[in-house]
Structure formats: C-alpha cells, structure tokens
C-alpha cells in the first residue's frame, strides 16, 4: 500500500522465545525484530512450526507453559503518552493493556469461546473488565454494535457458542477483539478451519473494518497467496527467524530468499497458466538440533560456501535498490550499518 | 418459644439422682411394646418387665430358692406339677387406673395358649380357670423343670385392652398399659424414657423416678458408654474388664456376674472315631485349662468358671451336685490324661497322639468367625490339646453354615452353649437327650448336637422331669451326672452369667455376692426387683 506509514505502533526487538528452561529449552523464536506501524496489515508467513504463533503469543505474553520470553523487548507506542516495554509490565498492568490496546484472535475460534457462557456474557466480560464505569445497558449496546459490525444479527447474542457455525464463531471473536477499539489486532490463522467462501467473507469484513477504525493487524498464516492479497507487508519466518520482510507485492513478484521462492512455488494457481510447482524438498528443521549457519541451507537449492557456517543477518540487501525490504540470506549480503 | 419443648426439662434436670440410665447393645429399635414378643423394643432393652409384671418373682441366681410373691401372693403346684393355683393380690392396679383381677390373669394365660407366636417359653398351657381371687392354670405336662417359665416369665396384661386386639401377634401396643411401677414417657429408636407412676402401684413406689433405656449399636459403643458413665447399667461382654471398665472409676464401676444353670463348653461329635471313645473325651477334658479360658477369653468374668466335674456352676448348681461328686473339681492334669490314654491303647508318638488303630488323632474346632470369645477359647483349647498330642485346627466358620452343621451333627468339635433353666435338667437335656438324637445330616435344633446315644441318660431325664418327689429327682440327677462325668459327651468350660455391669455412683443396692437377691441383668424378668432395690447413693 502506498500510504506513508511512519509512526510505529509496536516495535519488537531481538525477541527470543523458548519452550522450557535451561538445557531442555527449545528456542522457538530467535532474535526476531519486527515493527508494526499504525494502520498497517503485517502478514507473517512460514511453514508450520516456524514459530509464527509463538512470536505472536510471546509479544502478548500469552504463551502456554512452558513457554518463556527469553530476551528482547517489545515496545508499545500508545496514541498518547510515552512508549513502554510490554515485557516489563506487571500482571495488573498487563491485564489493563490487553484487549484495550492489543487484542488477539486465536488460531481456531472453535475453542476460543467458553462453551458454557452465552456470547453476550463473554463479550460484555471484556468490556466490563476495561471500562467498569459503563452501565450494563451500555455494555450490551456495545456488544450488539460489535456483532452488527461483523455481520451477525444481534439476537445471536443470546446464543451459546456451540449454537453458532464455525464462521459465526470466528466473527464473534473478531467482533469481540474489536470491542474496545484496540490499536493492534493479532490474528493467528483466523480462517484456516473455514472454507474459502467463508474465509473471504470474514477477511473482507476485516479489511473494511480496518479502514473504518484504523487499527493495525498482525496476520498470521502459512497461506502465502492469502497474505499477498490481504496485507501491506509480509514477513516470512523459517526456523524461528524472520528470513525476509518486504511489501507484499515485492515479495510476490520478486522473492529474494530461496525459502520464500520455494513457498511461492508450492501452491497451485487457480487462474492463468498452469505453472510448474517445484515445492521445497526436504523436511522442516528440528528445533532441538538446528542446522548450523542458515537454518534453511540443508534444503536450499542455492546454498554455497558460507551458508552452513554463519547465520546470515536480516538487513537491507546491498544488491537491491527498492525501498524498505530486508532479507537474511548469503545470496543477498548485507553490509553492516 | 421453647417453653413447651419436651426436652427442656430433660436438659435442665440437673438432679441426676432421680434418673437411672440403662443400656443394651441392640442397635436402633422401633416402637414395639408387645410384651410377649422377644422382638419388641421392651424385650430387647428389658423394660417390658418394669411395665408388665409376672405372677411370681424368680431369682435365677438361686434357682432352687422359693419364688417371691409378686402379682400373685402365692402359687401352689400339684404334686406332679401339671397344675398351679395362684392367688392374685387385690391391691394391684393397671396404669390406666383399672383394677387388676384374676380375670386378667386367666385371660393372659389363655391368650398365650391360643397364640403360639406369643408363647416364647413354649409353656404347654391347657386352661386357666378363675375362682374368686384364685386362678388355676393347668398344663399338658409336668412343669417342675420349667416352673419359672410357667409363672415367672409370662407378663400379665389387662384384659380390657387386649381383648380388643384382633391380631395379638402383630400388635405393636404403642401405648402399653401395665401393672408395673413405670409408664413410657417417650420412645425414640435410640432411647426409651420411662417414668415412675405417682400412684396406684401395689407396693412402695421406686426411688428411681425415671428410667432411660438406651440401645447402643454394638458392644463397643455400649462398653464405651459404661466406661464413660453415660450408661449406668448394662449387660455386655467387656474384654479386659478391669482396664476397660472398672479402672475408669474403680470406686463405683462394678461387675457382678453370677452364673445360672446354663453352661458353655466344647461339644464333641461322639459318632466320629476316635472321639466315640469316652476315654479320649475324658482325657481331653482333663487337659483343658479353664482358668486360661476364663481369664483370657472371658475377661475373667463373663462365663463364670465351671469347677465341678458335673458341669454345674457354683453357686447356682451347688444344691444339685450329687454326693458322689461333691467337692470334685476340674483341674488340669496332663499326666493323668496321658496315663488314661495309654491305658486305653493310645500312643504318644513324639508330639502326635495315635489312636489304637495307629491313626493320628486330629480334630477341627469350629465356631463362627465373629464370636471372638469363643474363638479365643478355641485357640486355647487347641494349645491345650497339643499337650497330649492331639492336633487341632481352628476353623472360623460362617455363622449360618455353622448353625446348620452343628445342628446336623456335621462337625468335630465346637464351642456352644446349653439351654438354661431353673434346674440342671436343661443343661443335661441339651447335651444328652436321646429324644433329640437325630441321624447325622438331620437337624436337631433343640439339642444333642454331639449325637450322644445313651438310653440311660434319656430315661433319667424323663424320670427327672416327671418325678413327683425330691428323692426320685435326686436319683435321676445322680444318674445323669455319672453319665456326664464318665462319658464326657461335652466338655464344660464356663457358665452363662446373669449379671451385669453397673455403677454405684448414683445408685446403690445392686445385688452382689453378699446379697444375691436377683440377677443383675436389665433384660431379665426380675429386673424390676433390682430397680426397686436401688437407693440414691449418699
């Protein structure tokens, strides 16, 4: 997208996330830096197990045990006031911060709703926790409004989650995520369980809402074609690291990292010529025994001398003149500084 | 609001000296005051005998003593004891104010005659006729050996109440009208409270103004209540009675356990070789350590020692011991037993006794698992028998099966009781009655479990029961004792006791060795006599 996106909203710097402690730790996210600007949709792609969800949850500190954030900082820039580090917040501060500033739509909305409470209770719960001064009626109004916003008739407030279809539940979750008008919405594969028709409906609504409300989105999926269509910028993860990051059109047209290339060559196109699908040979790395050097090198068709020795840094490649893109690959070396 | 609560008084009456707490380990009861039924609450707790009264008061501790006049001022038996003429006192009144008459007595006896279910003593009544204050009751057979059942254990009920009862055996009689000094104040499954009448009783009113009968669930609860002083009078087996009960309040906690004419001992199946040999049985009797059983299994009191070789306990049986056996007591005599056995052809081979045919003598002692005193006794018997080389094993049987097997004669040896009564007749009858002799496999519920086959004994039993004079009785009894001693159809160990555990903290006047005026057991027919003897302690 062409708007000038300069004001950062969330700056992730050198984030490390581990599962487990000490020697048993699995380093699921390594040294990841990523900035999300106001009003921007950032896509996060990468194959299963590359650490996308871990990154998202790590930022919000919602990792399931034994996950621990093992380093780095996450700086949040509120619309007014001083920026602060999310990772240093106390539990109480964190509770206040959550949902009001950043909300999350989880992978699999099926399980995100409490099966024993009606939709209205769950929506109003969130509102009440953050705006306790609001009357019950006002809260109910807000809940209704949110449902309408996501295209569900307000009488469904009275329904239990199991009485809604998967798509409706997903929309309820999105509505709930927007109820407090947060600055950032993190969406973890919100549509993988749905079929394409439903997926498009929901994403369409989301885009529309974003234009109206102006929040930023961190959108996670491994479906690159979806991301290319929907996001402004895409970061591609492999083996716990971001290996490439660029505006989506650039990535689609001209992927730099061989892994990005492989990803793009893995899904069949519906329209146009039938192109050759090569895929990515080999299997994903084991997080416990990461290959030395570039984690992708054992599967990389273009690997050469330094790949298995040194880890390439993520940075603006010297050989590329376009704007704002970074890559971590020895094919596109980065000069420090 | 609680002013009219029935419990307020009970709680506030601090003056404890008017109340006597009595207990029995019967479990929760239901409101059933039918005085004839052993299943009634009154019978289980014993208070039927303070509401209803018999004609005469019999002292089981001294069974040969003459009975005390009670509702009858006198009882005269005919010579062969088939009929009795009783004179009813004229000052007795029912608790509803009506007078007690000879008609009531005759009615009661006919009621019992006509309803077999009410006749728990099995008294063969034929008729009861009234003439003035006298009632003549006639019986099918001589009642010498069961006089007490005939006139001291049938509660007299008011005709004007019971003639209206259509089915006396299923009458629960919730509002009992009796001639005794107490009436029921309240009934709960756990406790029945009785209060003394304030007028109309034919003799001096008791000093115990209120009786509380509590039914505890089991012996342990009962014992604990006794030890704690919650309960002042009961009849229960208390192991190690000194520590468990007496020492808790040595000054007041008392046990008095006089024996009656009913004994416990080891029945031996006399049909099984080699135990069909009387010598072997006698030898076994010689080595059993009754003192051990008495102190260890029976806590030193519960089944008083039977010392006399005739099996008759002292003092209840003293009067009946024949001259031949007077002063002859059991004592452990292992050497004597060995000699006796050797003379009869048995050989002691190392630790094993071999019978004349050369087979080792072994036997199984059985009793139901739950009867811990019997089980302990058997353990001791087992150890005792080992001293003469008899290898016994103890089998903890199932109660039902045990009953069936013992009655059917399918056992080697078992501890069991005999009937008890006013004469030694019941003891000997239970052990040796040829009329009860059934083939192995057929039940003989009334006795002779060991299948003891002696025509002489049977004849002597019949002669004793039907005798018309003391001399004949004495001869018959001597014969019975001789057979019992020489053939040892059963090895007596202890007697039934008719005593109880009580506390003198609040009440004195209990029967004791010095003044054995009655049985100290709350469920006996003479319980009322005991209560009437009680005085507040100083």
């Amino acid at each position: 997208m062409t708007q000038v996106l300069t004001r950062p909203l969330l700056e992730i710097k050198n984030l490390n996330v581990d599962y487990g402690l000490g020697d048993e730790a699995v380093h699921a996210v390594r040294d990841v830096s990523l900035t999300i600007h106001r009003g921007e949709v950032v896509g996060l792609a990468g194959e299963s197990g590359s650490g996308k969800s871990t990154l998202a949850y790590g930022v919000t500190r919602l990792l399931p045990p034994p996950g621990v954030v093992a380093g780095g900082s996450v700086t949040y820039h509120p619309p007014t006031g001083e920026p602060f580090d999310v990772l240093s917040l106390s539990h109480a501060e964190l509770r206040k911060f959550r949902w009001a500033e950043t909300s999350i739509v989880f992978q699999g909305a099926m399980n995100s709703l409490n099966p024993v409470h009606k939709v209205d209770v769950q929506m109003m719960d969130a509102i009440k926790a953050h705006e306790p001064q609001l009357s019950k009626a006002a809260r109910l109004d807000r809940a209704k409004e949110m449902l309408r916003l996501v295209g569900i008739s307000e009488d469904r407030l009275d329904a239990y989650p199991h009485q809604l279809s998967g798509g409706m539940r997903q929309r309820v979750m999105i509505g709930m995520a927007l109820a407090l008008e947060p600055q950032l919405v993190i969406m973890d594969e919100p549509t993988t369980a749905l079929d394409v028709v439903m997926q498009r409906q929901i994403l369409g609504q989301l885009v529309e809402l974003r234009e109206r409300l102006g929040f930023s989105v961190l959108f996670i999926t491994h479906d690159l074609s979806l991301l290319v269509e929907f996001s402004d910028r895409i970061a591609i993860m492999y083996g716990g690291r971001i290996v490439e990051e660029a505006p989506s059109a650039d990535i689609y047209r001209d992927p730099l990292h061989p892994y990005s290339v492989g990803l793009l060559r893995s899904f069949p196109a519906l329209r146009g010529d039938r192109r050759e699908l090569t895929g990515i040979p080999g299997s994903p790395p084991d997080l416990r025994g990461m290959p030395s050097g570039c984690a992708f090198h054992p599967r990389c068709p273009k690997r050469f001398e330094p790949c298995d020795k040194e880890i390439p840094v993520l940075g603006k490649p010297d050989d590329h003149v376009g704007p704002a893109r970074t890559v971590a690959c020895w094919l596109h070396p980065v000069t420090a500084g | 609001a609680c002013g009219d609560s029935p419990n307020e008084k009970a709680k506030n009456s601090g003056a404890k000296t008017t109340v006597l707490t009595v207990g029995m380990p019967n479990g929760p009861l239901t409101e059933n005051e039918n005085p004839f039924l052993t299943t009634s609450a009154g019978a289980k707790d014993g208070y039927r005998w303070v509401v209803y009264e018999p004609l005469m008061m019999w002292n089981p501790v001294k069974p040969a003593d003459p009975m005390k006049p009670w509702l009858a001022t006198k009882a005269e038996w005919n010579k062969d004891y088939t009929s009795v003429k009783v004179t009813i006192r004229d000052n007795a009144e029912w608790s509803d104010g009506q007078k007690l008459t000879a008609d009531d007595v005759a009615f009661t006896y006919k009621l019992v005659r006509d309803n077999e279910a009410l006749n728990s003593g099995g008294v063969p009544i034929t008729d009861a006729t009234v003439s003035g204050a006298d009632v003549t009751i006639t019986f099918k057979s001589p009642q010498f050996v069961s006089q007490q059942k005939a006139i001291a254990q049938i509660p007299i009920v008011p005709k004007h109440v019971w003639e209206k009862v259509s089915d006396p055996k299923s009458e629960v009689n919730k509002n009992p009208i009796g001639s005794g000094p107490y009436t029921i104040k309240s009934f709960t499954p756990q406790t029945t409270t009785l209060v003394a009448r304030d007028k109309g009783y034919w003799q001096a009113l008791p000093q115990v103004k209120e009786l509380r009968y509590t039914s505890y669930n089991d012996n342990n609860a009962q014992t604990t209540a006794l030890a704690n002083g919650e309960c002042e009078w009961s009849f229960v087996f208390i192991p190690n009675v000194k520590t468990v009960f007496i020492d808790k309040d040595a000054a007041n906690h008392k046990i008095w356990a006089p024996p009656v004419l009913g004994i416990h001992g080891l029945y031996i199946n006399t049909t099984k070789a080699p135990f069909n040999d009387p010598k072997l049985r006698v030898a076994m009797g010689m080595v059993i350590n009754r003192d051990d059983i008495f102190t260890t299994a029976e806590a030193g009191y519960f089944h008083p020692l039977v010392k006399s070789v005739t099996g008759l306990p002292s003092p209840a049986g003293d009067a009946y011991i024949s001259d031949e056996y007077k002063g002859k007591d059991y004592k452990v005599d292992v050497e004597g037993a060995k000699t006796l056995l050797a003379s009869a052809g048995y050989k002691l081979d190392g630790n094993t006794l071999k019978d004349p045919s050369g087979k080792p003598v072994t036997l199984t002692l059985t009793d139901p698992a739950g009867w811990s005193d019997y089980q302990t006794s058997l353990e001791i018997v087992k150890a005792n028998l080992a001293t003469i080389g008899i290898n016994a094993t103890v089998d903890k049987a199932n109660q039902d099966a045990w009953f069936k097997n013992v009655e059917a004669g399918q056992f080697d040896a078992a501890f069991r009781w005999t009937e008890g009564g006013s004469t030694p007749y019941d003891i000997y009858r239970t052990v040796m009655d040829g009329d009860q002799l059934k083939p192995i496999g057929t039940a003989s519920p009334a006795g002779n479990f060991g299948r003891f086959d002696s025509k002489d004994a049977t004849a002597a039993l019949r002669a004793y029961a039907a005798a018309t004079d003391d001399a004949a009785r004495k001869t018959a009894l001597a014969t019975l004792q001789k057979i019992f001693v020489e053939q040892a159809p059963m090895i007596p160990v202890g007697a039934d006791n008719i005593g109880g555990a009580f506390s003198t903290k609040n009440w004195t006047g209990w029967p004791d060795d010095a003044n054995p005026y009655g049985a100290a057991q709350p469920t006996q027919a003479n319980a009322l006599d005991v209560i009437l003897h009680l005085k507040p302690s100083a």
Partner: protein, 348 residues
C-alpha cells in the same frame, strides 16, 4: 474415577479414571513414555513401596520372628525389642501377624483387581464397541451391579458361602466391583470407536475382534491401569473391612483379622494402641502407595498434567521461574535499556 464416593465405600474401583481427558498421547514419544512413567517421582515412590509389600507377601511368613498363632504368656505387651509391635491378648506377636498377613492382603488385592479389571474390559469394551442391543443389555447389567451396594453384596455373598478363603473373598470382590470400571471403559470405547483409526482399520479389512483387541484396547491401557489400581485399593479395603466386621472367616492372618481381634478385645479402650495402629498404618501406606502409582498413571496419560511439572523451575542461571497460564514469564539476560532507539527497527 467417578462418583467420587460419598463416604465409606471409600474407593470406587476405577475412580481414578473419571476425569481423564483424551487418551491420545499428543505427540509424545511412546517409548520414552514408558520410562517417563517410572521417572515420575510419585509413581516411583509408590512402586517401591508396593515392591516392598510384595516382597513381604512372598517371604513374610518365613521371616516372621514368631509363629503368629503361638499363644505365649507375654500378654498384651507394648512394643519392645523382642516384640516390635507388641503382643495381643493371647501373647501373640503382632509384628509376625502383620508379616504373615501381608500375603493374604496382597493376594486378594491382586486377584480381585485382575478379575474386576478383566470383567470390566469384557463388558465395557464390548458394550462400547458393539453398541445396539448388546450395549443396552450390558449397560443394564453393569448398572444393576452399580446399584446394588457393593460392600453389602460382598457381605451377603460371603455369608452365604459355606467355606470362605482368600481366593473366594478375592473372587467375590472381583465379581462384584467391576461395574464402575466397565462404565468408564464403555464411555471411552464409545469415543474411541469413532476415531478415524478404528474406522480406518475397518476399512483396511480388520476383523471385529482384532479391532477390539489390537486397535482399541491398547489405547485404553492407562485407564485400565488406573482402574486396576483403584480396584485393588477397593479390594484391600473391602477384604479388611470384611475381616474386621467378622464376616469373612479367613483362617489365615490378614490385617483385617488383626483389627478384628483388636477391636473384639477393645484394644484402643485398653490402651493397647500397638495392636490397632500398625495394621491400620500398613493398610494406609499400601493404599497411599497404590494412589501414588495411580497419580503416576494419571499424569502419564494426561499430557497436560505432565507438562511444566510442579512448582517453580530454575533457569540455567538459577533464577526461579513460575510458569503461569496467561502470564508468560520474561527472563532477560540483560536488562533492557530504558531508552528506546526509535530509529532502530525492522523498517530500515
């Protein structure tokens, strides 16, 4: 693990299985799984104690210092160097009685556990897999057994048998206490039956009995195991209770018999605590050991109970970290600088 029993029939067999979630081990190593079970501290403690009991069950009667039946003159003695647990009213050595009684207890527990487990598998799994009329019939059957109060049924059966020995007691307990397990197994089987792999093996052409025994049963192992442990506890308690209330007429020693004698002689009221306490403790420790094993099984079945273990953990640098759902701990090796470099970022 259900119907957590109200009171006295303390252990309902299979109680431990109620709350068990899915049995599919989500991506955990199966082989290591087995060792993990052992590695579980609780389970190990339980197993070690059990092993000691089993050892005494085997050698107990031989190593007992005295003949447990032997009547001596050392009546009602407090524990001493000679009589470790004191003596009974007949001067019998209580320590020897406990040792001699272990065998019966362990045997009855094991046999009853096996019988009940086998029955519950037969009934529960069959009903769950086959469904339909067979299911209805078997369900009624197990419900009937559930409805009849177990301990009382056992009492009734034991009183009605002419001869009762350890084996009969064990069989009676086993035959009357399978219904809970069968219910749990049936419910599990019902859900397993709908698993794709069961359907898939059918589509491969497997026969019904093979599906039941080779596809479904192995997946129930953990539930079966904890049901077994539960039944064993129940059986031991029942056996002891039966002996205690004088129902079972076992001629050999078991701890219930000891308690029966102690109670019959009012050991506690007499102050002879040594007569009462050791047997009770022996039972309680055995029960606890079995429960510990059960915990082990539970935790090993449910990955969720397993993950993150207990209590605070330590990092390699020795910091204490408490895992908490919803609030991921942050451990940063270096304190982040207070100032944030605004120009630095991924957009460069």
């Amino acid at each position: 693990m259900t119907a957590t029993p109200s009171s006295i029939e303390q252990v309902i067999p299979g109680q431990g299985a109620m709350a068990q979630p899915d049995v599919t081990p989500a991506g955990k190593k199966a082989k290591r799984r087995r060792f993990r079970f052992i590695a579980n501290g609780k389970a190990t403690t339980g197993l070690v104690i059990l092993a000691i009991y089993v050892l005494f069950a085997i050698i107990g009667p031989w190593v007992a210092p005295f003949d447990p039946d032997k009547i001596t003159s050392d009546v009602l003695q407090a524990p001493s160097a000679k009589h470790w647990f004191g003596t009974s009213h007949l001067g019998q050595d209580i320590f020897s009685q406990i040792l001699a009684g272990t065998r019966s207890v362990v045997m009855v527990g094991a046999i009853a556990g096996i019988v009940a487990t086998v029955l519950s598998i037969l009934v529960g799994v069959t009903a769950g897999y086959l469904g339909g009329v067979i299911d209805e019939i078997l369900s009624v059957l197990s419900n009937v057994f559930l409805v009849i109060p177990g301990l009382l049924l056992i009492i009734i059966i034991c009183t009605s048998l002419p001869r009762v020995n350890d084996l009969t007691v064990a069989l009676v307990i086993g035959l009357t206490s399978w219904s809970w397990g069968s219910r749990v197994l049936r419910a599990q089987t019902l859900s397993l039956r709908q698993r794709d792999y069961v359907e898939a093996s059918r589509a491969t052409g497997e026969k019904t009995w093979r599906i039941i025994f080779f596809e479904i049963l192995p997946n129930l192992t953990a539930i079966i195991a904890s049901g077994f442990v539960g039944t064993v506890i129940f059986a031991v308690l029942s056996e002891i209770t039966l002996a205690f209330i004088g129902i079972s007429s076992v001629s050999s020693w078991n701890w219930g018999t000891i308690l029966f004698w102690a109670q019959g002689q009012q050991a506690l009221a007499q102050g002879a605590w040594w007569w009462f306490v050791p047997a009770g403790l022996a039972i309680a420790i055995l029960g606890t050991a079995l429960s510990l094993v059960n915990f082990g099984i539970d935790e090993f079945v449910s990955p969720r109970l397993r993950t993150s273990g207990h209590g605070p953990k330590r990092t390699s640098t020795g910091e204490k970290v408490r895992m908490k759902v919803g609030f991921t701990p942050v451990i940063r090796p270096v304190e982040p600088t207070g100032t944030i470099d605004m120009k630095d970022g991924a957009t460069r």
